[in-house]
Symmetry: C2
Subunit: 257 residues, 2 copies
Protein backbone atom coordinates (compact mmCIF):
# COMPACT_ATOMS: atom_id res chain seq x y z
CA UNK A 1 0.00 0.00 0.00
CA UNK A 2 1.35 3.41 -0.88
CA UNK A 3 1.51 6.21 1.63
CA UNK A 4 -1.43 7.97 0.01
CA UNK A 5 -3.51 4.80 -0.01
CA UNK A 6 -2.74 4.25 3.67
CA UNK A 7 -3.76 7.79 4.58
CA UNK A 8 -6.89 7.49 2.45
CA UNK A 9 -7.94 4.27 4.18
CA UNK A 10 -7.35 5.78 7.61
CA UNK A 11 -9.54 8.74 6.80
CA UNK A 12 -12.35 6.75 5.16
CA UNK A 13 -12.48 3.75 7.45
CA UNK A 14 -10.79 4.80 10.67
CA UNK A 15 -14.02 5.48 12.54
CA UNK A 16 -15.08 1.89 11.94
CA UNK A 17 -11.81 0.41 13.11
CA UNK A 18 -10.77 2.51 16.11
CA UNK A 19 -12.18 3.55 19.46
CA UNK A 20 -13.10 7.23 19.25
CA UNK A 21 -11.47 9.79 21.60
CA UNK A 22 -8.51 7.58 22.48
CA UNK A 23 -4.89 7.32 21.38
CA UNK A 24 -1.58 5.99 22.68
CA UNK A 25 1.85 7.63 22.61
CA UNK A 26 5.21 5.97 23.27
CA UNK A 27 8.32 7.56 24.77
CA UNK A 28 11.23 5.32 23.86
CA UNK A 29 14.44 6.19 25.67
CA UNK A 30 17.70 4.80 24.36
CA UNK A 31 20.89 4.58 26.31
CA UNK A 32 24.11 4.30 24.36
CA UNK A 33 27.66 5.48 24.85
CA UNK A 34 26.75 7.38 27.95
CA UNK A 35 23.95 9.36 26.34
CA UNK A 36 20.20 9.28 26.84
CA UNK A 37 18.16 9.67 23.69
CA UNK A 38 14.53 9.59 22.66
CA UNK A 39 13.02 8.16 19.48
CA UNK A 40 11.07 10.68 17.43
CA UNK A 41 9.22 10.61 14.12
CA UNK A 42 9.25 13.49 11.70
CA UNK A 43 5.82 14.88 10.91
CA UNK A 44 4.85 14.44 7.26
CA UNK A 45 4.33 18.08 6.38
CA UNK A 46 5.44 20.41 9.10
CA UNK A 47 8.98 20.92 10.23
CA UNK A 48 8.03 19.25 13.46
CA UNK A 49 8.65 15.99 15.22
CA UNK A 50 6.51 13.82 17.46
CA UNK A 51 6.36 10.65 19.56
CA UNK A 52 5.39 7.36 17.95
CA UNK A 53 1.64 7.20 18.52
CA UNK A 54 -1.61 5.89 17.11
CA UNK A 55 -5.09 4.65 17.76
CA UNK A 56 -6.67 1.70 19.57
CA UNK A 57 -8.66 -0.90 17.62
CA UNK A 58 -12.18 -1.51 18.91
CA UNK A 59 -11.33 -5.13 19.76
CA UNK A 60 -7.81 -4.53 21.08
CA UNK A 61 -6.63 -3.95 24.66
CA UNK A 62 -5.13 -0.48 25.06
CA UNK A 63 -1.78 -1.82 26.29
CA UNK A 64 -1.57 -4.11 23.24
CA UNK A 65 -2.31 -1.12 20.98
CA UNK A 66 0.77 0.61 22.37
CA UNK A 67 2.97 -2.36 21.46
CA UNK A 68 1.44 -2.62 17.99
CA UNK A 69 1.69 1.11 17.30
CA UNK A 70 5.33 1.12 18.32
CA UNK A 71 6.09 -1.84 16.08
CA UNK A 72 4.23 -0.33 13.10
CA UNK A 73 5.72 3.15 13.40
CA UNK A 74 9.31 2.23 14.27
CA UNK A 75 9.89 -1.47 13.69
CA UNK A 76 10.69 -2.03 17.38
CA UNK A 77 9.31 -5.27 18.85
CA UNK A 78 9.24 -7.17 22.13
CA UNK A 79 9.84 -4.11 24.18
CA UNK A 80 8.45 -3.86 27.67
CA UNK A 81 6.30 -0.72 27.59
CA UNK A 82 5.37 0.85 30.91
CA UNK A 83 2.12 2.82 31.08
CA UNK A 84 2.90 5.99 33.04
CA UNK A 85 0.14 8.61 32.62
CA UNK A 86 -2.96 9.53 30.65
CA UNK A 87 -3.09 13.02 29.15
CA UNK A 88 -6.55 14.52 28.90
CA UNK A 89 -6.18 18.30 29.05
CA UNK A 90 -8.05 20.60 26.68
CA UNK A 91 -4.80 22.23 25.55
CA UNK A 92 -3.82 19.09 23.66
CA UNK A 93 -6.88 19.43 21.38
CA UNK A 94 -5.94 21.36 18.24
CA UNK A 95 -8.57 20.78 15.55
CA UNK A 96 -6.90 23.17 13.10
CA UNK A 97 -3.58 21.36 13.38
CA UNK A 98 -5.08 18.14 11.99
CA UNK A 99 -7.19 20.04 9.45
CA UNK A 100 -4.11 21.79 8.00
CA UNK A 101 -2.38 18.45 7.96
CA UNK A 102 -5.10 16.79 5.91
CA UNK A 103 -5.36 19.78 3.56
CA UNK A 104 -1.68 19.36 2.74
CA UNK A 105 -2.49 15.79 1.71
CA UNK A 106 -5.10 17.36 -0.55
CA UNK A 107 -7.93 16.08 1.64
CA UNK A 108 -10.92 18.03 2.97
CA UNK A 109 -13.17 16.51 5.61
CA UNK A 110 -16.27 17.62 7.50
CA UNK A 111 -15.91 19.29 10.88
CA UNK A 112 -17.38 16.22 12.62
CA UNK A 113 -14.85 13.85 11.07
CA UNK A 114 -13.46 11.41 13.65
CA UNK A 115 -9.84 12.55 13.11
CA UNK A 116 -10.76 16.13 13.99
CA UNK A 117 -12.27 15.32 17.39
CA UNK A 118 -10.64 15.52 20.79
CA UNK A 119 -8.31 12.67 21.75
CA UNK A 120 -7.16 11.68 25.22
CA UNK A 121 -3.85 9.84 25.01
CA UNK A 122 -2.35 7.10 27.18
CA UNK A 123 1.41 7.51 27.61
CA UNK A 124 3.84 4.58 27.68
CA UNK A 125 7.62 4.57 28.03
CA UNK A 126 10.43 2.06 27.63
CA UNK A 127 14.20 1.97 27.97
CA UNK A 128 16.22 0.25 25.28
CA UNK A 129 19.88 -0.19 24.50
CA UNK A 130 19.54 1.31 21.12
CA UNK A 131 22.39 -0.28 19.30
CA UNK A 132 20.32 -3.46 19.59
CA UNK A 133 17.26 -2.10 17.81
CA UNK A 134 16.79 -0.69 14.32
CA UNK A 135 14.02 1.89 14.03
CA UNK A 136 12.46 2.02 10.57
CA UNK A 137 9.77 4.06 8.93
CA UNK A 138 6.36 2.85 7.85
CA UNK A 139 4.00 4.19 5.17
CA UNK A 140 2.95 7.13 7.31
CA UNK A 141 6.35 8.07 8.67
CA UNK A 142 8.92 10.19 6.96
CA UNK A 143 11.84 9.80 9.32
CA UNK A 144 12.44 7.91 12.55
CA UNK A 145 15.50 9.03 14.50
CA UNK A 146 17.13 9.13 17.92
CA UNK A 147 17.55 12.57 19.49
CA UNK A 148 19.66 13.56 22.50
CA UNK A 149 17.10 14.42 25.19
CA UNK A 150 18.91 17.65 25.92
CA UNK A 151 18.54 18.75 22.29
CA UNK A 152 15.01 17.74 21.38
CA UNK A 153 13.54 19.66 18.39
CA UNK A 154 10.14 21.35 18.31
CA UNK A 155 7.46 18.74 19.09
CA UNK A 156 3.83 18.67 17.98
CA UNK A 157 0.84 19.23 20.28
CA UNK A 158 1.71 18.37 23.92
CA UNK A 159 4.37 15.78 23.08
CA UNK A 160 7.05 17.76 24.93
CA UNK A 161 4.87 17.61 28.05
CA UNK A 162 4.44 13.85 27.57
CA UNK A 163 8.18 13.39 27.11
CA UNK A 164 8.94 15.48 30.22
CA UNK A 165 6.47 13.49 32.30
CA UNK A 166 8.01 10.21 31.12
CA UNK A 167 11.48 11.43 32.04
CA UNK A 168 10.24 12.60 35.45
CA UNK A 169 8.62 9.19 36.02
CA UNK A 170 11.83 7.41 35.02
CA UNK A 171 13.90 9.57 37.39
CA UNK A 172 11.49 9.07 40.30
CA UNK A 173 11.52 5.36 39.58
CA UNK A 174 15.29 5.33 40.11
CA UNK A 175 14.63 6.14 43.74
CA UNK A 176 12.80 2.95 44.47
CA UNK A 177 13.39 0.48 41.67
CA UNK A 178 16.58 -0.81 40.14
CA UNK A 179 17.25 0.27 36.58
CA UNK A 180 19.76 -1.22 34.28
CA UNK A 181 18.90 -4.80 33.59
CA UNK A 182 17.90 -4.27 29.98
CA UNK A 183 20.35 -1.48 29.33
CA UNK A 184 23.73 -2.84 30.30
CA UNK A 185 25.72 -5.86 29.14
CA UNK A 186 25.31 -8.97 31.28
CA UNK A 187 28.56 -8.12 33.07
CA UNK A 188 29.44 -4.52 33.79
CA UNK A 189 31.67 -2.42 36.00
CA UNK A 190 30.54 -0.09 38.75
CA UNK A 191 31.62 3.00 36.74
CA UNK A 192 29.45 1.77 33.85
CA UNK A 193 26.42 1.45 36.13
CA UNK A 194 27.16 4.85 37.68
CA UNK A 195 27.35 6.39 34.22
CA UNK A 196 23.89 5.02 33.37
CA UNK A 197 22.37 6.63 36.48
CA UNK A 198 24.20 9.91 35.92
CA UNK A 199 22.97 10.01 32.33
CA UNK A 200 19.34 9.39 33.25
CA UNK A 201 19.43 11.87 36.15
CA UNK A 202 21.50 14.34 34.12
CA UNK A 203 23.78 15.10 37.04
CA UNK A 204 27.08 13.98 38.53
CA UNK A 205 26.86 11.62 41.49
CA UNK A 206 29.37 10.96 44.21
CA UNK A 207 31.01 7.69 43.22
CA UNK A 208 31.52 6.28 46.71
CA UNK A 209 28.01 7.12 47.93
CA UNK A 210 26.55 5.58 44.81
CA UNK A 211 28.53 2.39 45.18
CA UNK A 212 27.64 2.07 48.85
CA UNK A 213 23.92 2.60 48.20
CA UNK A 214 23.67 0.30 45.23
CA UNK A 215 25.60 -2.48 46.98
CA UNK A 216 23.41 -2.11 50.08
CA UNK A 217 20.35 -2.93 47.99
CA UNK A 218 21.81 -6.36 47.42
CA UNK A 219 20.73 -6.52 43.79
CA UNK A 220 24.25 -6.93 42.41
CA UNK A 221 26.59 -9.91 42.47
CA UNK A 222 30.27 -9.24 42.20
CA UNK A 223 31.82 -11.72 39.84
CA UNK A 224 35.12 -13.49 40.20
CA UNK A 225 36.42 -12.07 36.96
CA UNK A 226 37.68 -8.59 36.38
CA UNK A 227 37.38 -6.49 33.29
CA UNK A 228 40.45 -6.83 31.17
CA UNK A 229 42.20 -4.12 29.30
CA UNK A 230 41.14 -1.26 31.51
CA UNK A 231 43.60 0.66 33.56
CA UNK A 232 41.13 2.30 35.94
CA UNK A 233 40.69 1.58 39.61
CA UNK A 234 37.40 -0.31 39.48
CA UNK A 235 37.83 -3.30 37.23
CA UNK A 236 35.45 -5.62 39.11
CA UNK A 237 32.63 -6.99 37.06
CA UNK A 238 29.10 -7.21 38.42
CA UNK A 239 25.86 -8.84 37.34
CA UNK A 240 22.33 -8.26 38.48
CA UNK A 241 21.11 -10.92 40.87
CA UNK A 242 17.89 -11.54 38.98
CA UNK A 243 15.87 -12.86 41.91
CA UNK A 244 16.81 -9.93 44.10
CA UNK A 245 16.23 -7.59 41.14
CA UNK A 246 12.72 -8.96 40.57
CA UNK A 247 11.99 -8.70 44.27
CA UNK A 248 13.18 -5.10 44.33
CA UNK A 249 10.92 -4.37 41.36
CA UNK A 250 7.88 -5.53 43.32
CA UNK A 251 8.60 -4.30 46.84
CA UNK A 252 10.92 -1.43 46.07
CA UNK A 253 14.59 -0.84 46.77
CA UNK A 254 14.22 -0.47 50.51
CA UNK A 255 12.78 -3.95 50.65
CA UNK A 256 9.53 -2.34 51.71
CA UNK A 257 8.68 -1.77 55.34
Amino acid sequence: MTKNEAIGALIEEGQNWFLPSLSVDCVIFGFHDGELKVLLLKHRHLNMWGLPGGFVYKDEPADVAAQRVLQERTGLQEIFLQQFHTFGDMERYDKEFHNRDLKKDGITVQSDHWLLQRFVTIGYYALVEFSKVSPSEDTLTEKCLWWDIRKVPSLMLDHKKILDKALQTLRMQLNYQPIGYNLLPEKFTMPELLKLYETILDKKLDRRNFQRKILNYGILRRLKEIKKGVAHKAPYLYSFDLNRYQEALSVGLQGGW
Copy 2:
Protein backbone atom coordinates in the same frame (compact mmCIF):
# COMPACT_ATOMS: atom_id res chain seq x y z
CA MET B 1 -34.78 16.26 38.73
CA THR B 2 -36.07 12.82 39.68
CA LYS B 3 -33.94 9.73 39.35
CA ASN B 4 -35.89 8.58 36.29
CA GLU B 5 -35.57 11.98 34.63
CA ALA B 6 -31.82 11.98 35.24
CA ILE B 7 -31.43 8.52 33.74
CA GLY B 8 -33.62 9.47 30.79
CA ALA B 9 -31.55 12.58 30.06
CA LEU B 10 -28.31 10.61 30.26
CA ILE B 11 -29.58 8.07 27.77
CA GLU B 12 -31.10 10.56 25.32
CA GLU B 13 -28.44 13.27 25.41
CA GLY B 14 -25.30 11.64 26.79
CA GLN B 15 -23.67 11.14 23.40
CA ASN B 16 -23.85 14.89 22.80
CA TRP B 17 -22.35 15.77 26.17
CA PHE B 18 -19.62 13.24 26.76
CA LEU B 19 -16.47 11.98 25.06
CA PRO B 20 -17.18 8.50 23.71
CA SER B 21 -15.12 5.49 24.87
CA LEU B 22 -13.83 7.17 28.02
CA SER B 23 -14.74 7.11 31.70
CA VAL B 24 -13.15 7.83 35.08
CA ASP B 25 -13.29 5.78 38.28
CA CYS B 26 -12.29 6.88 41.77
CA VAL B 27 -10.88 4.75 44.58
CA ILE B 28 -11.38 6.69 47.79
CA PHE B 29 -9.56 5.19 50.77
CA GLY B 30 -10.55 6.31 54.23
CA PHE B 31 -8.45 5.88 57.32
CA HIS B 32 -10.19 5.96 60.65
CA ASP B 33 -9.74 4.28 64.00
CA GLY B 34 -6.93 2.16 62.69
CA GLU B 35 -8.92 0.76 59.76
CA LEU B 36 -8.55 1.26 56.02
CA LYS B 37 -11.82 1.52 54.14
CA VAL B 38 -12.97 2.21 50.60
CA LEU B 39 -16.01 4.19 49.46
CA LEU B 40 -18.45 2.21 47.33
CA LEU B 41 -21.78 2.92 45.69
CA LYS B 42 -24.56 0.38 45.52
CA HIS B 43 -25.66 -0.44 42.00
CA ARG B 44 -29.25 0.56 41.31
CA HIS B 45 -30.61 -2.85 40.39
CA LEU B 46 -28.16 -5.61 41.03
CA ASN B 47 -26.97 -6.74 44.43
CA MET B 48 -23.59 -5.35 43.49
CA TRP B 49 -21.40 -2.44 44.41
CA GLY B 50 -18.99 -0.29 42.44
CA LEU B 51 -16.52 2.59 42.55
CA PRO B 52 -17.73 6.17 42.09
CA GLY B 53 -17.31 6.74 38.37
CA GLY B 54 -18.67 8.59 35.38
CA PHE B 55 -18.01 10.19 32.04
CA VAL B 56 -15.90 13.08 30.74
CA TYR B 57 -17.58 16.14 29.19
CA LYS B 58 -16.36 17.02 25.71
CA ASP B 59 -15.03 20.37 26.94
CA GLU B 60 -13.66 19.17 30.29
CA PRO B 61 -10.12 18.02 31.18
CA ALA B 62 -10.12 14.36 32.22
CA ASP B 63 -8.58 15.10 35.63
CA VAL B 64 -11.31 17.68 36.29
CA ALA B 65 -13.96 15.11 35.33
CA ALA B 66 -12.68 12.83 38.08
CA GLN B 67 -13.10 15.60 40.69
CA ARG B 68 -16.58 16.47 39.41
CA VAL B 69 -17.73 12.85 39.23
CA LEU B 70 -16.56 12.25 42.78
CA GLN B 71 -18.39 15.33 44.02
CA GLU B 72 -21.59 14.43 42.15
CA ARG B 73 -21.68 10.78 43.19
CA THR B 74 -20.55 11.11 46.80
CA GLY B 75 -20.64 14.77 47.87
CA LEU B 76 -16.88 14.75 48.53
CA GLN B 77 -15.09 17.95 47.49
CA GLU B 78 -11.60 19.45 47.45
CA ILE B 79 -9.93 16.11 47.54
CA PHE B 80 -6.56 15.63 45.94
CA LEU B 81 -7.10 12.83 43.44
CA GLN B 82 -4.05 11.01 42.13
CA GLN B 83 -4.26 9.45 38.67
CA PHE B 84 -2.71 5.99 38.92
CA HIS B 85 -3.57 3.80 35.90
CA THR B 86 -5.76 3.56 32.82
CA PHE B 87 -7.71 0.32 32.36
CA GLY B 88 -8.29 -0.69 28.75
CA ASP B 89 -8.60 -4.47 28.65
CA MET B 90 -11.33 -6.20 26.66
CA GLU B 91 -12.52 -8.10 29.73
CA ARG B 92 -13.95 -4.89 31.19
CA TYR B 93 -16.38 -4.57 28.26
CA ASP B 94 -19.71 -6.20 29.14
CA LYS B 95 -22.41 -4.98 26.77
CA GLU B 96 -25.07 -7.23 28.26
CA PHE B 97 -24.41 -5.90 31.77
CA HIS B 98 -25.45 -2.38 30.73
CA ASN B 99 -28.31 -3.69 28.56
CA ARG B 100 -29.83 -5.63 31.47
CA ASP B 101 -29.38 -2.55 33.60
CA LEU B 102 -31.31 -0.32 31.22
CA LYS B 103 -34.04 -2.95 30.75
CA LYS B 104 -34.64 -2.90 34.48
CA ASP B 105 -35.23 0.83 34.17
CA GLY B 106 -37.78 -0.10 31.51
CA ILE B 107 -35.55 1.25 28.75
CA THR B 108 -34.63 -0.46 25.48
CA VAL B 109 -31.89 1.00 23.28
CA GLN B 110 -30.29 0.06 19.98
CA SER B 111 -27.15 -2.02 19.92
CA ASP B 112 -25.10 1.00 18.74
CA HIS B 113 -26.23 3.20 21.65
CA TRP B 114 -23.29 5.10 23.17
CA LEU B 115 -23.82 3.60 26.64
CA LEU B 116 -23.46 0.08 25.23
CA GLN B 117 -20.05 0.66 23.64
CA ARG B 118 -16.65 -0.18 25.03
CA PHE B 119 -15.20 2.22 27.65
CA VAL B 120 -11.59 2.64 28.71
CA THR B 121 -11.43 4.05 32.23
CA ILE B 122 -8.86 6.29 33.91
CA GLY B 123 -8.34 5.34 37.57
CA TYR B 124 -7.80 7.91 40.34
CA TYR B 125 -7.30 7.39 44.07
CA ALA B 126 -7.24 9.53 47.17
CA LEU B 127 -6.74 9.10 50.90
CA VAL B 128 -9.11 10.87 53.28
CA GLU B 129 -9.67 10.91 57.00
CA PHE B 130 -13.23 9.87 56.65
CA SER B 131 -14.72 11.30 59.79
CA LYS B 132 -14.12 14.65 58.10
CA VAL B 133 -16.20 13.93 55.01
CA SER B 134 -19.82 13.02 54.55
CA PRO B 135 -20.56 10.89 51.53
CA SER B 136 -24.07 11.37 50.17
CA GLU B 137 -26.06 9.94 47.35
CA ASP B 138 -27.12 11.70 44.17
CA THR B 139 -30.05 10.99 41.84
CA LEU B 140 -28.37 7.96 40.34
CA THR B 141 -26.99 6.47 43.53
CA GLU B 142 -28.85 4.24 45.88
CA LYS B 143 -26.33 3.95 48.69
CA CYS B 144 -22.85 5.35 49.32
CA LEU B 145 -20.94 3.60 52.10
CA TRP B 146 -17.50 2.90 53.50
CA TRP B 147 -16.35 -0.73 53.40
CA ASP B 148 -13.44 -2.34 55.22
CA ILE B 149 -10.97 -3.19 52.41
CA ARG B 150 -10.60 -6.71 53.76
CA LYS B 151 -14.35 -7.29 53.46
CA VAL B 152 -15.27 -5.71 50.15
CA PRO B 153 -18.52 -7.06 48.63
CA SER B 154 -18.98 -8.28 45.06
CA LEU B 155 -17.97 -5.44 42.69
CA MET B 156 -19.20 -4.78 39.16
CA LEU B 157 -17.12 -5.23 36.00
CA ASP B 158 -13.38 -4.92 36.76
CA HIS B 159 -13.76 -2.62 39.75
CA LYS B 160 -12.07 -5.14 42.07
CA LYS B 161 -9.05 -5.09 39.75
CA ILE B 162 -9.06 -1.27 39.80
CA LEU B 163 -9.30 -1.26 43.60
CA ASP B 164 -6.46 -3.78 43.90
CA LYS B 165 -4.24 -1.75 41.57
CA ALA B 166 -4.93 1.42 43.57
CA LEU B 167 -4.02 -0.34 46.81
CA GLN B 168 -0.85 -1.75 45.25
CA THR B 169 0.09 1.74 44.02
CA LEU B 170 -0.54 3.21 47.48
CA ARG B 171 1.60 0.53 49.12
CA MET B 172 4.46 0.97 46.63
CA GLN B 173 4.22 4.71 47.18
CA LEU B 174 4.90 4.19 50.88
CA ASN B 175 8.36 3.03 49.91
CA TYR B 176 9.41 6.32 48.46
CA GLN B 177 6.98 9.01 49.50
CA PRO B 178 5.76 10.06 52.90
CA ILE B 179 2.13 9.35 53.62
CA GLY B 180 0.14 10.77 56.42
CA TYR B 181 -0.12 14.49 56.06
CA ASN B 182 -3.83 14.53 55.21
CA LEU B 183 -4.72 11.54 57.32
CA LEU B 184 -3.47 12.35 60.79
CA PRO B 185 -4.17 15.19 63.18
CA GLU B 186 -1.66 18.06 63.05
CA LYS B 187 0.14 16.57 66.07
CA PHE B 188 0.42 12.83 66.47
CA THR B 189 2.43 10.21 68.31
CA MET B 190 4.82 7.71 66.75
CA PRO B 191 2.47 4.79 67.54
CA GLU B 192 -0.32 6.62 65.71
CA LEU B 193 1.88 7.05 62.62
CA LEU B 194 3.00 3.43 62.84
CA LYS B 195 -0.63 2.29 63.04
CA LEU B 196 -1.42 4.20 59.82
CA TYR B 197 1.41 2.44 57.94
CA GLU B 198 0.50 -0.96 59.38
CA THR B 199 -3.11 -0.47 58.36
CA ILE B 200 -2.26 0.49 54.78
CA LEU B 201 0.29 -2.29 54.40
CA ASP B 202 -1.95 -4.72 56.26
CA LYS B 203 0.95 -6.14 58.27
CA LYS B 204 2.69 -5.65 61.59
CA LEU B 205 5.92 -3.65 61.50
CA ASP B 206 8.81 -3.65 63.91
CA ARG B 207 8.28 -0.55 65.99
CA ARG B 208 11.94 0.35 66.50
CA ASN B 209 12.90 -0.15 62.83
CA PHE B 210 9.95 1.93 61.74
CA GLN B 211 10.79 4.78 64.08
CA ARG B 212 14.43 4.73 63.05
CA LYS B 213 13.59 4.79 59.33
CA ILE B 214 10.93 7.44 59.53
CA LEU B 215 13.09 9.71 61.69
CA ASN B 216 16.02 9.26 59.31
CA TYR B 217 13.96 10.73 56.50
CA GLY B 218 13.87 13.98 58.38
CA ILE B 219 10.25 14.71 57.54
CA LEU B 220 9.07 14.84 61.16
CA ARG B 221 9.59 17.46 63.82
CA ARG B 222 9.38 16.35 67.41
CA LEU B 223 7.41 18.88 69.38
CA LYS B 224 8.10 20.16 72.85
CA GLU B 225 4.77 18.99 74.14
CA ILE B 226 3.79 15.47 74.97
CA LYS B 227 0.47 13.79 74.59
CA LYS B 228 -1.49 14.03 77.78
CA GLY B 229 -3.62 11.36 79.31
CA VAL B 230 -1.84 8.40 77.75
CA ALA B 231 0.01 5.90 79.85
CA HIS B 232 2.07 4.37 77.07
CA LYS B 233 5.78 4.63 76.50
CA ALA B 234 5.81 6.96 73.54
CA PRO B 235 3.98 10.13 74.43
CA TYR B 236 6.06 12.47 72.27
CA LEU B 237 4.10 14.46 69.75
CA TYR B 238 5.32 14.96 66.20
CA SER B 239 4.35 17.11 63.27
CA PHE B 240 5.27 16.86 59.63
CA ASP B 241 7.93 19.35 58.62
CA LEU B 242 6.03 20.60 55.60
CA ASN B 243 9.02 21.81 53.62
CA ARG B 244 10.87 18.51 54.06
CA TYR B 245 7.60 16.65 53.37
CA GLN B 246 7.07 18.51 50.08
CA GLU B 247 10.68 17.92 49.12
CA ALA B 248 10.34 14.22 49.85
CA LEU B 249 7.21 14.16 47.68
CA SER B 250 9.19 15.45 44.71
CA VAL B 251 12.54 13.72 45.07
CA GLY B 252 11.50 10.69 47.05
CA LEU B 253 12.26 9.54 50.57
CA GLN B 254 15.91 8.78 49.92
CA GLY B 255 16.42 12.36 48.93
CA GLY B 256 17.12 11.08 45.44
CA TRP B 257 20.61 10.15 44.30
